[in-house]
């Protein structure tokens, strides 16, 4: 072998060994224990469309977080104005996140202004107008503050969802933020997508409120709801028929305590083996709970989650020790999910589903089987066609083609790319297109031989002439693939990745590998003319 041949041989050998190392973890069941110390252990990652699973895009309704922040601020402001003797006749949250206050007279307004400046720097006066003696003021939050609330709402939602998914138990979940206010969740291999969706999306705001027992539920349902009360329902599922009954409650709207004080929530079983959720509070929460129960002995305390009443037991005595329970005719699963969402905390704002793509595991397996079968058959057809058309040279091209597949898969494992169903189609397409480089070279080789050039010169001319065409044409296709990669969703990315890698690999195999084989033959045998 000449030096150049030797070098090329070593290069090809190195690439092959590298490919084998990257592919090994994918194709064996169990890696030897020493393997991870030296070598990568990533398998080729299957996309959700192949292994089954759920892809969700949620939008965090961050505006709602701003609104509830404004609501809290309004309540706080109301209390403080009373304390400071700054008299107002009207105080409400308007237009979502603004606060409207009507002050008694211009003097009060002046006092109000200086108080606001001192205590509430984030509230700014948007407009103010005199209405007779009164002064109506519209307050709005500092835009920076609003942005901050939104941002933290999304961060917190992300964190909470992560906690919930972790506790739900999904292998390799992928939870990430997308754009300004979207959260992308991928749950591979999930068995019960509906349940997971329910669990992730629950706002899970836990509230303790008193039942207004002096007021008749019937009258309230007729529309006469007393001031400061609301109607909330308990959902009761009939175990026999599965029908859902809604039981109305008249509830005093003032929240006595929220889920913020929770330390833990666990599923427990009562004497009859029925599950319930046991709550325990932080010390501060325990003190608050003790005070609430002490003040309201004999009344009914409603435990409300996301505006649904779960239970409304009568408070028999002051409860110390910081524990409470939620009963509600749960199934074991329901109780478990409820405990998870309570532990993980509530979402700062409601979220809604923008996009859902779920593929069942059986469809995924079908797709893999069909895709692989079709690719193999298609590939075999191409191999046969190459041998028929180019004979010995076709055989060389086939070596390159098979090597191309090996390199493609190895690169996929090495780059932690994801193989999707369109990705498999991309591989199949690469098989078709990878031939192109060889075809270009061989057609050139034939032409050069027709001109009567000897084998060595024909080879050199064929390769060098075809090179530009191969490069220019592949670069343009790769440009298209790269744009797809930027834009595409999961499956399409898979397609773009396989196509790009496939083309790169085909340049290597067609130009370096086949050339090496021809040069090797030229060097060691007496070639009169190429069988092409």
């Amino acid at each position: 072998m000449t030096r150049s041949l030797q070098w090329r041989f070593l290069l090809i050998l190195a690439v092959l060994i590298g490919a084998a190392i990257f592919l090994y973890p994918t194709f064996v069941k169990e890696l030897p224990s020493w393997w991870p110390k030296f070598f990568p252990q990533d398998k080729i990652h299957l996309g959700l469309d192949l292994q089954g699973g759920m892809h969700l895009t949620f939008e965090v309704e961050a505006d709602k977080a701003v609104e509830s922040s404004a609501e809290r601020m309004k309540n706080d402001l109301g209390n403080n104005l009373k304390k400071e003797n700054i008299f107002y006749t009207y105080l409400e949250r308007v237009q979502g996140d603004k606060i409207e206050v009507v002050l008694l007279n211009p003097d009060v307004k002046a006092k109000f202004d200086s108080y606001l400046k001192e205590q509430y720097p984030i509230l700014k006066e948007a407009t103010s107008q005199k209405e007779g003696d009164r002064v109506k003021v519209l307050l709005e939050m500092d835009p920076r503050q609003i942005a901050e609330i939104k941002k933290s709402a999304i961060d917190q939602a992300l964190e909470t969802i992560r906690n919930r998914v972790d506790q739900f138990g999904v292998a390799e979940p992928d939870i990430s933020r997308q754009g300004e206010n979207m959260i992308l969740i991928q749950l591979p291999g999930i068995k019960d997508p509906e349940r997971a969706k329910e669990l992730i999306g629950k706002t899970a705001i836990l509230e303790f409120k008193l039942v207004d027992e002096e007021y008749d539920v019937g009258r309230a349902l007729a529309g006469n709801i007393p001031f400061g009360d609301v109607i909330l329902y308990e959902r009761v599922v009939d175990p026999q028929t599965g029908a859902i009954n809604k039981i109305p409650f008249v509830i005093k709207d003032k929240t006595l305590m929220t889920g913020d004080v929770l330390k833990d929530a666990r599923v427990k079983l009562d004497q009859n083996n029925r599950p319930y959720v046991g709550l325990s509070f932080h010390p501060a929460g325990a003190r608050l709970f003790e005070q609430i129960t002490g003040d309201n002995v004999g009344k009914r305390l409603a435990i409300i989650l996301d505006n649904t009443v779960y239970s409304a037991p009568v408070i028999r005595q002051r409860i110390a020790g910081g524990e409470a329970i939620i009963e509600g005719r749960f199934t074991m699963e329901d109780a478990r999910d409820l405990a998870i969402v309570l532990r993980a905390g509530s979402l700062p704002a409601p979220i809604k589903i923008l996009e859902e793509r779920t593929v069942g595991p059986s469809l995924g397996q079908d797709s893999i089987n069909k895709g692989i079968k079709a690719t193999i058959i298609g590939g075999l057809l191409v191999l046969i066609a190459m041998i028929l058309y180019y004979r010995m040279a076709g055989f060389v091209a086939n070596i390159a083609l098979i090597l191309n597949m090996v390199l493609l898969l190895a690169a996929l494992a090495a780059l932690r790319g994801t193989l999707t169903l369109p990705g498999i189609a991309g591989i199949a397409l690469t098989v078709g297109m990878a031939v192109d480089a060889n075809v270009l070279i061989y057609e050139r080789l034939r032409e050069e031989m027709r001109l009567g050039k000897p084998p060595g010169a024909a080879l050199a001319a064929g390769y060098s002439r075809a090179f530009l065409a191969i490069m220019d044409s592949n670069v343009t296709t790769v440009i298209a693939a790269l744009v797809l990669l930027q834009f595409g969703t999961g499956p399409i990315k898979g397609f773009a990745i396989t196509l790009t890698i496939g083309l790169a690999a085909s340049m290597f195999t067609a130009i370096v590998v086949t050339r090496f084989i021809f040069d090797f033959v030229l060097n060691n045998f007496r070639v009169k003319r190429w069988s092409v």
Binding site: E356, S367, A374, D436, R446
Partner: protein
């Protein structure tokens, strides 16, 4: 030696350029008429928003029975379709609405079907629900991606070749895209993200093909300096013809296998690629170089 195109073949493509233009014009016109009649491409769930559910029944059932069950479950306007490409007993249910509720439409569909056919008779294999906002977003992004891809490729061609070649490539690519979208419209195929990916691939493939021809023109031009441009093009197209056809056929062969055996999910995707690659191959032989010729005749390049 096995040859599809014998060496020294001299088909006078350039003389017959009007046949090619006429043929392409007619095909494009039919496609455009179909698009107008259908009111634009039929957008799938990805771009229009809505819900798509793939259900597999253990025994094939009547489509009307499924539709009836859905109607009883309160799902009006559901379209139900057999999904033979995926296998017997498989159906696609489409709803134009999407739901942002957590329970979601798929739960409702499941309940409605379970009531009619029993819990065990079917399996929900795939759910795709896209809200209107996301659909619109994807549409914008998709169009932008297609435009960016084309611009990027054109810049590359202008940089590597000549502006008039870029013009030819643009015309050829537009031709391929319009024809493909037209055929999709004729065949009532829904325009989804996958189809968009297929079209971008076609764009890449067609340009790839065109460039091989251009590369040869670039090489032949100094060799045939005394010949008219028309002749250079003719010789080149003939020289590259066998490669163009061979590569096109090997790619098609794989795609046809994928079409018949790759399963229903990528059925439309492979069909789109097949149509596009047939026309892409044709356009790189005919439209791309002929356009360069027409451009050259109209705006001759100044001789140095």
């Amino acid at each position: 030696m096995f040859e599809i195109i014998k060496p020294g073949t001299k088909i006078d493509f350039m003389k017959r350029k009007w046949i090619g233009f006429l043929f392409s014009g007619v095909v494009m016109l039919i496609g455009i008429i179909s698009l107008v009649v259908h009111g634009g491409p039929i957008y799938g769930v990805d771009f229009a928003g809505g819900t798509l559910v793939q259900v597999k029944f253990s025994q094939p059932v009547a489509i009307d029975a499924i539709r009836g069950a859905l109607q009883d479950g309160g799902l009006e306007g559901a379209s139900v379709q057999g999904f033979e490409a995926e296998g017997k007993g498989e159906y696609l249910i489409r709803l134009q609405t999407s739901s942002s509720d957590l329970g979601g439409l798929s739960t409702t569909i499941k309940a409605a079907l379970a009531k009619q056919f029993g819990d065990k008779a079917f399996e929900i294999r795939r759910v795709e629900m896209v809200g209107p906002k996301v659909g619109k977003d994807l549409r914008t992004k998709g169009i932008l991606a297609a435009i960016f891809a084309m611009i990027a490729m054109l810049i590359y061609i202008s940089f590597r070749f000549d502006f008039r070649f870029a013009v030819g490539a643009v015309v050829a690519v537009f031709h391929d895209v319009i024809v493909t979208i037209g055929v999709l419209s004729l065949l009532n195929i829904e325009f989804s993200i996958l189809i968009l990916a297929a079209i971008l691939t076609i764009v890449g493939y067609s340009i790839n093909d065109t460039i091989v021809v251009y590369d040869r023109i670039r090489e032949n031009t100094p060799k045939m300096r005394r010949e008219p441009f028309e002749k250079i093009l003719n010789v080149t197209v003939n020289e590259t013809l066998s490669r163009t056809i061979l590569t096109g056929m090997s790619t098609l062969m794989v795609l046809i296998v994928l079409f018949f055996m790759g399963g229903g999910v990528i059925h439309d995707f492979t069909l789109t690629l097949i149509v596009g690659i047939i026309f892409g191959t044709y356009s790189s032989v005919y439209i791309a170089s002929v356009t360069v010729l027409v451009w050259e005749n109209k705006f001759p390049k100044k001789k140095r």
